[in-house]
């Protein structure tokens, strides 16, 4: 399945690029990295719109899970500020 391979390869490259760029900018918080990964995942899931309905449902579940983690980070940050 070339489209699956391409998705996984592009996602891996994006994660690697994000890590390198953020490390170069001396980002030292894990939640910053995680937020960037989540955004990359959501963007790629939106771009790869030609998956089968089953694959889109599966990726939707992963995106939801990643977004829930991102939401928790935001909640903790807001709690910290307050």
């Amino acid at each position: 399945m070339r489209v699956y391979n391409s998705f996984i390869a592009v996602l891996a490259l994006s994660f690697a690029a994000i890590t390198v760029v953020m490390a170069a900018y001396k980002a030292d918080k894990l939640d910053t990295y995680y937020s960037a990964y989540t955004i990359a995942l959501l963007v790629l899931v939106s771009l790869y719109m030609y998956f089968s309905p089953k694959a889109r449902r599966a990726l939707g579940a992963v995106s939801l899970l990643a977004f829930a983690g991102f939401g928790m980070i935001v909640v903790f940050k807001v709690a910290e500020i307050l």
């Binding site: 489209v3 996984i8 953020m22 490390a23 995680y34 990964y37 719109m49 089953k54 599966a58």
Partner: protein, 249 residues
Amino acid sequence: MTKSPYFCLGLVLSLSGAILAPIFYYVLDSVPLAALAISSIMLGVVSAMLANARPEVSPEASRMMLQTGVEHLASLLEELGLNSKAIYMPSPANGGRARALVPLNENGSLPQKGQHLPNRLIARYGPKPEDICLIVTTPGTVSLASLSISPGGGSDQIEGALNQILIGMMDLADSVTVHVLGNGIIVEVAKPKLRYDNVWFHRCLGSPIASIAATVVSEALNLPVRIASEEEATKGVRIVIEVLDESLQ
């Protein structure tokens, strides 16, 4: 599922990420490496989830079955000596599948828009005595079952549906672009895995990819269509689908 390479990859990535993340964070005190391990977990989960989404029948097996069906239909067409190009009809308004009709006489009448095709192999479709055709189910008919295409959709809808079928579901090509040109629809398929051969079946119904494209176009426009030509292009195949407007008159 466990035999799927995607699942194995997902398991390896997730486990190694889960083991390495605390080591990188607490022992090596390296946030970027710990982040990389977390990204490996995410990648692993994505890969494992995609393993579930893979079709139960492999693309190779599907292609083999498609080939068998095509050969059976080709024998029938050859035995009957049908040379005329198939007309792809949209699915009827009252339900049922989209099918193609192969007229016995190439210069016969054209079917009308919304014409009901009887559920038979050989049927009459026009007023003239020679308006007799063979009604067949095409590869596109079956692939349409899992998609919802609303009649009246434009080229964007056709392109989206074709990309979903040919790339997402069947893995038969790299990309599909659709243009509207006058009375025709041009479908460009990049790196197709099934090509046009000068065999009886392809001369009548087009290659399997062209057949799928014609079925989708017919369904989206809610009009009968015919494959006008199929030619090799620089990036792949260029399929010209003729919309049979005369049927509206």
